[in-house]
């Protein structure tokens, strides 16, 4: 057994940190927060030029050709630095699906532009009436000659207002079981009938509800088979293999520790001497270490041909729930000062901890709620019956 991350990860990490220190300026961070848009053209271009836009993709596609450990380090630092990568994440996810199941024409049309950072692809899975039960999607696609006509709504289509395409899950068959009547499309956003309505969230991130009113999409933009959309979705879910929030816990720990070192209480005693502060610091450090181990294990089992059960869901569940809990504890232990908002000039450590609590609420919901992950763990790791 060996718990070292890798021989060279120290040097590579320094390279990444230097790059991010240069490009993630305080102004960029504040703009991302104030607009709620986790995407920035200049930063995206810089990542493309550095070869880190699609770090795990083969070099012949324009990817970075990084090994899994380097990718882990890169993703880790991107999140610790709170880099605006949400649009990049969804774009490369959809690009990966197209690489696996798309036609040659689709690959030629999308992949080069995606990997050059020229287009943004957003996700259109959830609906107002279909969240965790995503296969209950009601948004309809009806064939009309060589086209499909789409009518319906999608929820949480983050970045739709700057997106070029939406990767849309639509119902194409109402006569069969719900999983078997779905089809995926790549729908151009810039057309009549597509309406984007802003939705603001607790964390400050802007997302959207999108409306599709007689939107036409050519059958050439169907991704995967007709009524085979569930399998295409499954490809995208499988590609999200290394989900976890260790790096967010790292950000929380650094901010909390900085606050504790820099602050004294009303009697002038350093907060680092307060047993309550020490406890929260200790709990956060432990949550971080466990989250790291669970995430690295989920990657390791996949790479080493070990049996994959629920290592991925354990990583996502534990780290997101721990992030929420530890954020609560930091804000509580800070007393009234913990209420001061992110980027408020009076806020300690720039209000990072206040923001992290709001941010953490989304992490236990998106990419599969904690409840869905508990179901997966119960069935796959513990062998319990399917539960309701």
């Amino acid at each position: 057994m060996d718990f070292r991350l890798g021989e060279d990860s120290g040097d590579f990490r320094s390279e990444v940190v230097a790059f991010l220190d240069e490009h993630i300026t305080p102004e960029l961070k504040e703009r991302v927060y104030r607009t709620g848009v986790s995407h920035d053209d200049a930063f995206t271009k810089a990542l493309v030029e550095r070869g880190w836009y699609a770090p795990g993709w083969p070099v012949e596609y324009g990817g970075g050709g990084l090994d899994p450990i380097e990718m882990l380090v890169l993703y880790d630092e991107l999140r610790v630095h709170d880099a605006p990568t949400y649009g990049i994440g969804t774009t490369t996810l959809v690009a990966s699906v197209i690489r696996e199941v798309g036609t040659d024409a689709q690959k030629a049309a999308i992949l080069p532009r995606a990997l050059a950072g020229e287009i943004v692809i957003v996700l259109g899975f959830s609906e107002p009436e279909a969240g965790s039960d995503v296969a209950a999607a009601a948004c309809r696609a009806v064939p009309d000659g060589d086209d499909w006509v789409i009518n319906g709504q999608k929820m949480f289509t983050t970045n739709a207002h700057i997106g070029d395409y939406v990767f849309l899950l639509a119902r194409t068959n109402t006569e069969v079981a719900k999983h078997r009547g779905l089809t995926m499309f790549l729908v151009p956003m810039d057309q009549a009938g597509v309406e984007v309505q802003e939705v603001r969230t607790m964390s400050g991130e802007r997302t959207n509800i999108t409306f599709y009113n007689d939107v036409r999409v050519s059958d050439e933009w169907r991704i995967g088979g007709v009524d085979d959309g569930w399998n295409t979705m499954t490809v995208s879910l499988r590609l999200e293999h290394s989900s976890g929030y260790a790096s967010s816990l790292e950000r929380l720990l650094r901010a909390g520790e900085t606050w504790a070192r820099e602050t004294v209480d009303a009697e002038g005693r350093p907060r680092v001497e307060d047993p309550d502060v020490l406890e929260v610091l200790g709990r956060t450090a432990a949550s971080l270490e466990v989250s790291r181990l669970l995430m690295r294990r989920s990657i390791w089992v996949g790479q080493n041909g070990m049996e994959v059960t629920a290592q991925g869901p354990m990583s996502k569940l534990f780290s997101s729930e721990a992030l929420e809990r530890r954020s609560e504890e930091w804000v509580e232990v800070m007393g009234p000062d913990g209420l001061r908002s992110y980027f408020d000039p009076t806020a300690p450590v720039n209000g990072e901890l206040e923001h992290m609590l709001r941010h953490s609420l989304g992490t236990t919901i998106y990419a599969g709620t904690s409840e869905m992950h508990r179901n997966m763990i119960a069935q796959r790791a513990l062998g319990l019956p399917r539960s309701k």
């Binding site: 057994m1 270490e289 539960s387």
Partner: protein
């Protein structure tokens, strides 16, 4: 990173797993409860297999096993609730080696004496709730700033306790001075770090085994026309314990590994492993016991054995809250050292 045990580590796991299956069955654990929580036959088998020899270096006449090897044994010990002073005797032996108490160490290795360690400092001349204090001949104790190897007299008080542990309150009168001043506290702290790491490994295994027992039960038991494991009210809490238990196991192995491979991180990781494993074992044993319904409350079912030890094995040293404070202090010390080193 490589999470697979090496061939040698796997052989070690297999050998101890087979021995514990035979010598620490639930029946044997129950029998040992009638003899102050000590099973002399299990202890004989452990010493025959060389657990004390493993603990010390070759120059002291031992085999120089790694802390990770010792943690793999501690896992099997926790899994089967071994009624023997494995961790205390191993940690005491390593401490005696470090402070150069050659004669006492030789007697510990030969079995002439059984030396344990008081994991909480003594106060008022008495070391309270000393693990293995009921059966040991001597105890290493931090008292008034000195580290002393004290004989345990006939006046020791052996309390009945909720973990069926062979603990004792020991009056410390005289003994062999092992270290004084900062040397004493440093030697005690180093031993306590090792005890925390190995106990963390044992507690993580208690969590894993108690979760298995709970899962086995909810897969069999039916209520309202279905297996009760199909109810999310149960399944989801077991799923939380599954993630925590896996995390505790990984962290305990990482902490033990660090003693030999990244020693500067070991004190931090040891406290973390103990804190996290003791909470995880506490919650997993509670959930598994509770999901047995009334049966879990009956002494006849094994889960109650795990419930008691998950608490007692940890609590003789400190609560999870105290352990997390220790983690916080270790983290501050580590980041201060890094900052100072970088200047």
């Amino acid at each position: 990173m490589d999470l697979r045990p090496t061939d040698e580590q796997q052989q070690l796991i297999d050998a101890f797993s087979a021995m514990y299956a035979k010598e620490s069955s639930p029946d044997r654990v129950r029998v040992a409860e009638t003899t102050q929580g000590f099973d002399p036959r299990l202890w004989d088998r452990l010493t025959e297999m060389g657990v004390l020899m493993m603990a010390v270096g070759e120059s002291a006449g031992g085999w120089g096993a790694s802390m990770l090897d010792l943690a793999l044994v501690a896992e099997q010990h926790g899994r089967t609730l071994g009624s023997a002073p494995l961790i205390e005797a191993v940690v005491a032996a390593r401490l005696l080696e470090r402070v150069g108490a050659t004669t006492s160490l030789a007697q510990q290795l030969s079995g002439e004496r059984l030396i344990t360690i008081a994991v909480a400092p003594a106060g008022g001349g008495i070391a309270k709730m000393v693990p293995a204090g009921a059966i040991a001949t001597d105890v290493v104790v931090l008292i008034d700033g000195d580290l002393v190897l004290a004989p345990i007299g006939a006046d020791r008080v052996v309390p009945e306790n909720s973990g069926a542990m062979p603990v004792a309150d020991v009056a410390v009168c005289d003994g062999e001075m092992l270290a004084t001043g900062t040397d004493a506290t440093a030697a005690f702290d180093a031993a306590l770090d090792e005890w925390l790491a190995l106990t963390g490994a044992a507690l993580a295994a208690i969590a894993a085994r108690s979760l298995e027992i709970g899962v086995e039960y909810v897969k069999e038991r039916e209520a309202f026309g279905q297996k009760i494991g199909a109810f999310q009210a149960l399944a989801h809490r077991l799923a939380d314990s599954a993630a925590e238990s896996d995390g505790a196991g990984l962290l305990a192995r990482e902490a033990a590994w660090a003693f030999d491979m990244e020693p500067e991180r070991a004190p931090l990781l040891a406290a973390m492993a103990f804190a996290f494993a003791s909470e995880t074992a506490r919650d997993a044993t509670y959930r598994s016991l509770h999901f047995h319904g009334g049966y879990g409350f009956m002494l006849e079912y094994d889960i109650q054995l795990y419930f008691g030890r998950a608490r007692a094995w940890a609590r003789v040293a400190m609560s999870p809250t105290q352990a997390y404070r220790r983690v916080g202090a270790r983290r501050l010390a580590a980041t201060s050292a890094t900052a100072a080193g970088g200047e």
